[in-house]
């Protein structure tokens, strides 16, 4: 199975582990991740205003690459996934935006949203299959109680992201079961960690993270997993190290015996 892979800025630096373990696991699962050679940063945050064009061009370039490679565009960081998928939706549905982008980029063939954006978790669920992963597990994380932290970016807006049920998602819990552990359901798993406001006022992500962690601990979670480096930072650092927080790929690598 081949994918055009978009890592994004953070997975080359502070969020390296998310990427390294994903690649190791992909090998075991028979998945090839072809990294785009000259990818550009997505900007980390999608701008909803319809007259914002320049801030979305990096995403379009990645999408065009996937289209030309005739493969789906694989993402791993929740933020990249959110930005690129929403830009792709704009290219497919917003004539004014599509016209301005194509007019500027002067591609050989105009791009109209033909590529499909798929997150690593969706790839595990829909292409590999959680049953198949279960078969490949050599170190099941039996007895480990894990809280899935979804945050916002994978789920919302659900009309575009179409990732899972936005209010009662199950993909991360199914993933936790596949690696032999026990999922812990808690209400705040899809509420915001405070995001970039850590640069505006640290008190905001501190308060948000406290609430999320308190809720997860009260339901018996021993650790949390996430697909987002900024969620990990807020929950860990701004949350005051009250609970271990891992990238989901790290636990997958552990279960598959490639950590």
């Amino acid at each position: 199975m081949n994918f055009t892979y978009y890592p994004g800025c953070t997975l080359k630096a502070k969020g390296k582990d998310l990427d390294i373990y994903a690649r190791k696991c992909a090998e075991v699962l028979g998945v090839t991740m072809d990294e785009i050679k000259d990818w550009q940063c997505c900007g980390g945050c999608y701008t909803t205003s319809q007259d914002e064009i320049a801030t979305k061009l990096a995403s379009v370039r990645a999408l065009v690459e996937a289209k030309n490679n005739n493969t789906e565009l694989l993402t791993l960081c929740s933020a990249c996934h959110n930005v690129i998928k929403r830009v792709n939706n704009d290219m497919a549905t917003n004539d004014y935006f599509n016209f301005r982008v194509n007019n500027y980029l002067k591609l050989d063939q105009p791009y109209n949203g033909e590529a499909t954006v798929i997150h690593y978790l969706e790839m595990l669920r829909d292409k590999v299959g959680f049953d198949k992963i279960k078969e490949k597990v050599v170190n099941p994380l039996t007895g480990k109680k894990i809280g899935a932290y979804y945050g916002c970016l994978l789920l919302r807006p659900s009309s575009v992201m179409a990732f899972d049920n936005p209010e009662n998602p199950t993909i991360l819990e199914d993933f936790i079961k596949a690696i032999g552990a026990t999922p812990v359901i808690y209400q705040m798993r899809n509420e915001c960690c405070g995001a970039y406001c850590t640069l505006e006022d640290k008190a905001i992500p501190k308060k948000r993270s406290d609430k999320i962690i308190e809720n997860a601990l009260s339901k018996g979670a021993e650790c949390l997993i996430t697909a987002c480096p900024l969620c990990l930072y807020n929950l860990k650092v701004n949350g005051g190290d009250k609970i271990p927080v891992y990238y989901f790929t790290e636990l997958l690598a552990e279960a598959l015996g490639v950590k």
Binding site: G8, G15, G44, T48, S49, Q50, C152, L199, L230, Y233
Partner: protein
């Protein structure tokens, strides 16, 4: 001051029709940053409808919205308040010299564990 021209511009940028709002308040009830916002999502919709945009534009609330999209997801009328907040904020930071976050503000206090994503998204949100 009532400014209906600005209201039109904000509706155009955001793609939101403020008249669809039925003032149920669900967006503000679900907003995780309610306590940190002087104006709440339903008030952004309301004051844009009234054309009273200055007070929104001059409020810190445009920078404390987390873009979490909870209000967008849970509004029963698909009004999508966060898009209004984004448009009001953009009109502010697009003004010459009006960037809300400047590089010299972050370099001194940079936390070694802070991921690049925090910086890219904060600059995307707060500066032009």
């Amino acid at each position: 001051m009532q400014n209906l021209k600005l209201r039109e511009k904000i509706e155009e940028m955001s793609g939101v029709s403020v008249l669809k709002c039925m003032r149920c308040g669900k967006c503000s009830a679900t907003c995780p940053n309610y306590d940190e916002m002087e104006f709440h999502p339903h008030q952004f919709v309301y004051f844009v409808e009234k054309g009273e945009i200055d007070k929104l534009a001059n409020s810190k609330s445009i920078y404390t919205c987390l873009s979490c999209m909870a209000c967008v997801e849970r509004c029963p009328r698909q009004v999508e308040p966060a898009k209004i907040i984004e448009a009001v904020k953009l009109l502010q930071i697009r003004k010459q010299g009006n960037n809300h976050l400047k590089p010299e503000q972050v370099s001194v206090s940079l936390d070694p564990e802070l991921p690049a994503q925090a910086l890219t998204s904060a600059f995307r949100k707060y500066s032009k």
